[in-house]
């Protein structure tokens, strides 16, 4: 069986296993939702009168080309994300590498397989993100049948060359300059690509109709398109005219041929690059430090040590800091709150900072949830056989997560506090309220992160990673929103009441303590219930199957 056939067989075998079925279902749902989002944006674009006016102003053909180019833009974005993150790990750490290297086949064959895998994934993601948008545009322009037939070629042209070039550049860099510093740089790039992709999706989600208009205006008035989408957009645009542009078709094939040629030569450097990569393996000697004996304290220290001793995790924290800075800088979600001058300045600033903290915490909540059970899949036999109390184990983990959740809190307090010029009193109030919010988050995270429905062990008792991640994140976010909802509603109600009754600052100050105490009481209640349920859940997970 060839490598390609083996991969295809493995893919076809997915529905035969429960985990594979779940994986397919959840990836399918995720991609389906993205496709729906793409279709929804396209519907807004083609039915918007403002867009029609804009198209008339800028000239129809040029604008359609621009729109098609913008429609294809998710292809290079997905290619960059996968080329720098997943494909990079595949190039140097995929478990099949020893097999491929020891097999009697050309050394570059495995490298080609990595390109094929990355391309397949990138094309699937690109089709989900770009396909509905471009299809809607073509439908709106009453495109002929061959326009639809050429869409996969346009998507491939916008995806494959970029992935191939990214892989070859990484191979060449490691081959020539392998070092711990380069590993760090590549890991950083991979993490940045992943975070960048998520941020880009978030920006689309939160930009709404206002953002959509800006997007269309930019697309319609663009003088030139990025090279990654230019050939594909020209190809599709030419199908809308009376005369088919064969030069555009040739251009697409030329890009694909060039990518194949570049990769063909680059792949030959891969075996030596792997060797160089392994020689640059970090072997840091650690300082000996005494460890505590108590279970919760040991687990807390273990979780923090894993973060501190893992370069990727630290880089992730730094990238997250940049993300928060960008969110605060662009006033995502809070522009309306800050502009409402009927509210006292302190209330506006506090509301804005709380909204930013909520968004920032929501972004990191799911990764931290994995620390409870999901990420322990390879170590699950240890946790199941340990005679430690489940409450102590969970307490240690939640203490660590609690400390890690202080990062978004402190980031927003520092960055947003500085940007808005918040007073010490506003900052203190923010810290008190978000401390309560963090306690609520921990309670929800404890419950959802141990829910047997989401992290159920398989028949042999092993925790199965992946598969339910999408649902787990949805349930977690929903749980967190429900957890803070009473406080949120109370805050909105109080704001409206204060606005309507022209409440004096003195009266607001008098009532602050009571309001905070009620909030703290609610936070403790949510945590207690969540923790209690989590201990029960953990017992179920650790029970023999």
């Amino acid at each position: 069986m060839s490598l390609l056939a083996a991969d295809l067989r493995a893919l076809a075998n997915l529905p035969r296993a429960p985990l594979g079925r779940r994986l397919l279902l959840h990836v399918g749902i995720g991609l389906g939702l993205l496709a729906l989002l793409s279709w929804w944006i396209a519907q807004n674009v083609v039915t918007s009168p403002e867009v029609a006016a804009m198209l008339r102003r800028h000239g129809g053909d040029r604008s359609i080309l621009g729109l098609l180019g913008m429609g294809l833009l998710p292809c290079p974005v997905a290619a960059t994300w996968l080329g720098l993150s997943l494909a990079q790990r595949q190039l140097f750490e995929t478990p099949e590498l020893p097999l491929w290297q020891s097999a009697p086949m050309p050394q570059w064959r495995g490298t080609i397989q990595i390109l094929l895998r990355a391309t397949f994934l990138a094309v699937v993601w690109s089709l989900a993100l770009s396909g509905p948008f471009v299809l809607t545009l073509l439908q709106h322009e009453r495109a002929p049948w061959h326009a639809y037939a050429l869409l996969p070629l346009a998507v491939a042209t916008a995806t494959v060359p970029l992935i191939a070039i990214l892989l070859v550049v990484q191979i060449a860099l490691v081959r020539l300059f392998a070092s711990r510093a380069l590993r760090l740089v590549l890991t950083t790039l991979g993490a940045a690509a992943s975070v960048g992709f998520s941020t880009w999706l978030l920006m689309i989600l939160f930009s709404g109709s206002e953002g959509g208009s800006r997007f269309v205006a930019r697309a319609a008035s663009a003088d030139s398109l990025p090279w990654t989408v230019d050939a594909g957009a020209h190809l599709l645009a030419s199908t809308l005219t009376d005369q088919f542009n064969f030069a555009a078709l040739q251009s697409c094939f030329a890009w694909l041929l060039l990518a194949t040629a570049v990769f063909w030569f680059g792949a030959r450097l891969h075996p030596k690059a792997i060797e160089a990569h392994r020689l640059a393996e970090p072997t840091l000697r650690r300082r000996r430090r005494d460890w505590p004996v108590g279970i919760a304290a040991t687990i807390r220290k273990k979780e923090l040590a894993q973060v501190l001793q893992q370069p990727g995790a630290l880089i992730g924290f730094l990238i997250f800091a940049f993300l928060v800075f960008a969110l605060v800088n662009r006033q995502v979600l809070v522009g309306g709150i800050l502009a409402d001058h009927r509210l006292p300045l302190e209330v506006r600033q506090l509301s804005a900072m709380l909204a930013q903290w909520f968004l920032a915490t929501m972004l990191v909540l799911y990764p931290h949830m994995g620390r409870l059970v999901q990420w322990e899949a390879p170590q699950w036999p240890l946790w199941v056989t340990a005679p430690a109390s489940h409450a102590a184990i969970l307490r240690g983990k939640l203490e660590a997560v609690g400390l890690l959740l202080l990062w978004p809190l402190l980031l927003v307090a520092t960055v947003s506090g500085h940007a808005l010029g918040a007073s010490p009193r506003t900052l203190s109030l923010f810290l008190i309220v978000t401390a309560g919010g963090t306690i609520v988050a921990l309670g929800v995270l404890a419950f959802v992160g141990t829910l047997p429905l989401l992290v159920r062990p398989d028949d042999s008792g092993t925790i199965a990673q992946g598969g339910r991640g999408f649902f787990a994140s949805l349930v977690l976010i929903l749980g967190f929103q429900l957890g803070v909802a009473p406080a949120g509603f109370a805050w909105i109600w109080l704001s409206i009441w204060a606005r309507e009754n022209h409440v004096s600052t003195e009266l607001a100050h008098d009532w602050t303590g009571a309001v905070l105490a009620a909030g703290a009481g609610w936070a403790v209640l949510v945590f207690a219930v969540g923790f209690g349920l989590a201990v029960r859940n953990y017992g179920k997970l650790a029970a023999p199957r």
């Binding site: 000697r285 279970i295 273990k302 893992q310 946790w383 430690a388 042999s460 023999p544 199957r545």
Partner: protein, 249 residues
């Protein structure tokens, strides 16, 4: 229900486990005395790992009963008590890549409620015995498979288990480490630790085990001392004993 041997450190009766329609283990009766080193042999898929996982409390038996260190397997209240006295070395060591070997041992010792002095004394000795002293402060990520195995063995032995369940512990170990590991097993056995050793290395089993049980297709085909088994099958080599017991010859 079949009675369990009260004097045994590991006792099973009618033990069975089914996955779907396939029985991995069927009607298994074991009685391993305290301090005994019991070898568990069998081909791939014979049911060794399933049995060990049931004894360790990872899998629930479909049929039968078991008792480990005097604690019944189906007693819910005594589950943690049973875990406290059992040490499991699975085929794939459950190490944390981004902890050092020493940190990992500290974590395991903490989970098993080992006092700090005991933990430090035991782990230093075990690191030395297993040749891990130089690598103990390096991240587990950089360890070879054999090193990972040794670190987990050190971690489990640092908890001073009464019953030690070993699943293919010598896989990936170099000859020197294998030698040291065998000495360690004999020493543990002399201290009174009951050891169930599942292995494919017949020489190791014949050399260190007091008794050996051979499993095939989920059932125990025969058991006895290495000499008894050789006599029963009328062969000189232990390899022949294994092949005959598993119907391969």
């Amino acid at each position: 229900m079949t009675d369990l041997d009260d004097s045994a450190a590991i006792a099973t009766a009618g033990l069975g486990r089914r996955f779907g329609t396939k029985w991995a283990v069927q009607d298994l009766a074991l009685a391993i005395r305290p301090g005994e080193l019991y070898g568990f042999l069998g081909q791939n898929g014979a049911g060794k790992t399933t049995t060990i996982r049931m004894l360790a409390g990872l899998l629930r038996p479909t049929t039968g009963t078991l008792r480990v260190a005097g604690i019944a397997g189906d007693t819910r209240g005594s589950e943690r008590q049973r875990k406290q006295v059992v040490g499991l070395v699975p085929d794939t060591p459950p190490l944390y890549d981004y902890l050092t070997g020493r940190q990992y041992v500290a974590l395991v010792a903490s989970l098993w409620h080992v006092a700090r002095q005991d933990r430090d004394a035991r782990s230093e000795r075990l690191f030395e015995l297993l040749g891990l002293t130089d690598a103990a402060d390096e991240l587990c990520k950089g360890y070879s498979h054999g090193m990972r195995k040794k670190v987990h063995i050190a971690a489990v032995l640092a908890t001073a288990p009464q019953v030690l369940l070993l699943d293919e512990p010598t896989t990936g170990l170099d000859p020197l480490s294998t030698r040291r590991f065998k000495d360690l097993l004999l020493e543990e056995g002399q201290k009174g630790t009951t050891i169930l050793l599942s292995t494919h290395v017949l020489d190791v089993a014949a050399e260190v085990c007091d008794r050996i049980g051979i499993l095939a297709a989920g059932t125990l085909r025969c058991e006895g001392t290495p000499a008894e088994l050789q006599e029963r099958f009328g062969v000189d080599s232990f390899e022949d004993v294994f092949l005959r017991a598993t119907d391969e010859e």
